[in-house]
């Protein structure tokens, strides 16, 4: 009887430990180059790595960001991004362009994506990237 109780306790402890491990693992990978870009991980992790982020103000006075990354997978990947823009006070600028937009990432090559701010007051951004689940 005592053995069964101990066994039950051990199983419970293992389960709790497993739950704790799952909960503490981050579900996204912040870009090594820029924390404003996050690659969301799927169950199997991600083969996407962000290598460069360039931001300019174009001739219209709008912030334009070009993100360069690498698809380390040996397969073609369909990716999508979601861009949010913020003004100088950190308030979100509502935009019709803030939705998931698909783009291609060919196998074992670099990909680039260019995002333009919806208005001049945009001073910062947050971009999420993930694989498309078809």
């Amino acid at each position: 009887m005592k053995f069964i109780k101990l066994f039950n306790l051990a199983v419970l402890a293992t389960l709790l430990n497993a739950c704790a491990l799952i909960n503490t693992a981050p579900s996204y990978a912040p870009s090594a180059t820029d924390a404003r870009i996050q690659v969301l991980k799927s169950f199997w992790g991600t083969n996407i790595r962000i290598t460069d982020v360039d931001t300019i103000i174009n001739s219209s006075g709008l912030m334009v960001t070009q993100i360069t990354g690498v698809n380390q997978d040996s397969d073609y990947l369909k990716l999508e991004y979601h861009a949010e823009w913020f003004d100088r006070e950190g308030m979100v600028i509502p935009s019709k362009m803030t939705h998931w937009v698909q783009f291609p990432a060919f196998e074992e090559t670099e990909f680039r994506l260019k995002v333009v701010a919806p208005k001049r007051s945009a001073a910062d951004f947050k971009i999420l990237i993930r694989e498309v689940n078809d």
Partner: protein, 203 residues
């Protein structure tokens, strides 16, 4: 009461059962992972509008050199598809975003089929009315004529691949013209292709 028509009763019960199996649910438009449809859905309009806006804002075509705003009129956007589409599903998104950008203001007083908002002209009829304080009535020579015109076309092509498969291609073509010179200052095209069963309808 005695039920004698058992087959009909069973059929009615089966229909109720089937309809109960497919409950209606709201689409989460911020993270819609639902499958594609052969016809055009809101995601296709969102994609086409988004690409057009990004291209317009990046090109500088809607940036007036003196920093002021262009006045844009909406011209004809033709629906040349087999579907019944209100082209405002595309154009409204573009208008909202261009207005928000601070680069463009859209006139509702001029369009190909007369004024979009007829109140601007109607309210001018009040100039003849003694019932209205004339200083509050719109004055002559106050309306602003458009600088730019947005026109376009949505095209559909259906191609039969084999006895069970078909392909539907949709082309969203837009042009932004300088009304003064008649020259197109920006043009954009988004192509959306779908491949599916012949049984699926794209009209």
């Amino acid at each position: 009461m005695k039920i004698t028509n058992y087959p009909h009763v069973l059929m009615a019960l089966a229909l109720i059962g089937i309809s109960a199996c497919t409950p209606t649910e709201n689409i989460d438009i911020h993270n819609d992972t639902g499958g594609a449809v052969m016809g055009l859905d809101y995601r296709d309009f969102q994609k086409a509008a988004s690409e057009a806006i990004t291209s317009m804002l990046t090109s500088g075509a809607v940036s007036k050199p003196d920093g002021s705003r262009y006045v844009l009129a909406i011209s004809t956007v033709t629906n040349d598809t087999m579907q019944r589409i209100d082209t405002d599903q595309l154009i409204k998104k573009i208008r909202i975003e261009l207005l928000n950008s601070g680069k463009v203001v859209v006139t509702t007083a001029v369009s190909t089929n007369g004024a979009e908002d007829q109140m601007a002209m109607q309210s001018r009829q009040l100039r003849q009315s003694d019932e209205f304080k004339q200083s509050t009535v719109a004055q002559k020579g106050q309306m602003i004529a458009p600088d730019l015109s947005l026109s376009g076309k949505i095209i559909q092509r259906n191609i039969k691949i084999d006895s069970s498969k078909q392909q539907a291609e949709y082309y969203f073509q837009l042009s932004l013209s300088d009304i003064n010179t008649g020259l197109a200052v920006w043009e954009g095209e988004t192509v959306i292709g779908k491949r599916g069963s012949n049984k699926a309808v794209s009209w």
